[in-house]
Point group: C2
Chain length 192, copies 2
C-alpha cells in the first residue's frame, strides 16, 4: 500500500533532493533517502512506487522551492527601474539560485535523468516553460526595458553562469561573475 502522510512524503522528497545533490543520481537509493530523512529503512519504499515516481516528485518540488519568497518579490516591485538597479537584481537572482545549491544541482541531475525518463522529461519541460513564461510576463509587466527575447537570452546566460559557479567555481572569479552579469544586462536588455 502507498502511504499518504503528506508531511512525511514532503520530507522524503526534500531528502531526495539533498541526496541527489550530494551524491548524484548514483547515490540516490530508497535507503539513502531514508537515512537522509532520518526515518526507518524501508519508508521510502512504502511511499514511492518506483524510482521514477520519486524523481518526478523531486523535480516538481525543486521548482516550488526555487520561487522567490514574498518579501523578495515585494522588494523587487518597489525597486527602481534603471539599468543599474536591474543589474543588481540579476546579481541577486544568481546569488539566490546559487544559494539553494543543492536544489539547483539536483535539478541538473534531474535534467540528465530526464534524458532517459519520458515521464520526468514531461514534468520538467512543463515547469521550465512555465518558469520562462512567468519571467517574461513579469518582466513585461514591470515596465523594465527589454523585450521577451532579451529576457530569454539573459536567462540562458545566467543559467550557465550558475552552472559554472556550482560545478567549476574556479573558472571565473566572483568579480568576473559580477562583471559578466552586469555586462549581460547592459548588452542584452538595454540594447534596443
Amino acid at each position: 500500500m502507498v502511504r499518504r502522510n503528506d508531511q512525511r512524503r514532503a520530507a522524503l522528497v526534500d531528502a531526495a533532493i539533498e541526496v541527489l545533490a550530494r551524491e548524484g543520481a548514483r547515490g540516490l537509493t530508497f535507503r539513502a533517502v531514508d537515512a537522509e530523512a532520518a526515518v526507518p529503512a524501508g519508508t521510502a519504499s512504502n511511499y514511492f512506487g518506483s524510482r521514477d515516481d520519486l524523481l518526478t516528485q523531486a523535480g516538481a518540488r525543486v521548482y516550488e522551492r526555487l520561487q522567490p519568497d514574498e518579501a523578495t518579490i515585494a522588494r523587487q516591485r518597489a525597486a527602481g527601474r534603471d539599468r543599474e538597479t536591474y543589474a543588481e537584481l540579476m546579481r541577486e537572482l544568481v546569488s539566490r539560485v546559487a544559494a539553494f545549491r543543492t536544489g539547483y544541482l539536483a535539478l541538473l541531475e534531474l535534467r540528465l535523468e530526464a534524458t532517459r525518463r519520458p515521464e520526468l522529461r514531461k514534468v520538467l519541460t512543463e515547469r521550465v516553460r512555465a518558469d520562462l513564461d512567468a519571467n517574461v510576463a513579469y518582466h513585461e509587466e514591470s515596465g523594465l526595458p527589454g523585450d521577451a527575447t532579451a529576457v530569454k537570452l539573459l536567462i540562458l546566460a545566467l543559467n550557465w553562469l550558475i552552472v559554472e559557479q556550482l560545478t567549476l567555481p574556479d573558472v571565473f572569479t566572483e568579480a568576473e561573475r559580477d562583471q559578466l552579469v552586469a555586462a549581460a544586462v547592459e548588452r542584452i536588455v538595454a540594447a534596443e
Copy 2:
C-alpha cells in the same frame, strides 16, 4: 598491473563516454564499459586503477573530441566577417556540439561528478579555461566585432541553449533556437 595498450585504452575511454551519456553516472561501471567496448569482462578493471581514473580520462577525452576538425577551421577562416555570417557560424557551433550529443551529455555528468571529485574538478577546470581562452583568442585574432566579454557572454548563452536542447528539447522549437542564436550574436557581439 596496469595495461598499456593505448588503442584499447582509448576505445575504453570512448566507451565510457557513451555509457555515461546513455545510462548516466549511475550506470557507469567497469563492466558496463567492457560491454560497450565489446571487450571481455574485467578489461576495464585492468586498465584503470579506479573510477576516478576512468572519469578523469573521459573528461579530457571529450574535450579532445569536441575540437572542430581542420576542415571546419579552414572554412571559418575563409568566411566573411559580417554579422550574418557570424550568426551562421554560431548556429553551426551549436549544431556541432549538439551533434556530439553523447559527448556533451557525458561532460555534464562529469561536471556533476566534479562536485565530489577534486581531481576531476581540477582537470575540467583547466580544460574549460583553456577552451574559453582559446575562443577569446581566436575571436580577437579573427578581427570579428566584439570584445572578450562579448565572447564570454555568447558562450554562456550558447552553452545553456545546448543544455536545453539536449535535455528538454521541447522547451524551445528549432526555429526559436535559431532565432535566439541570431539575437545573441546581434545584441551581444555587435552591440559595442
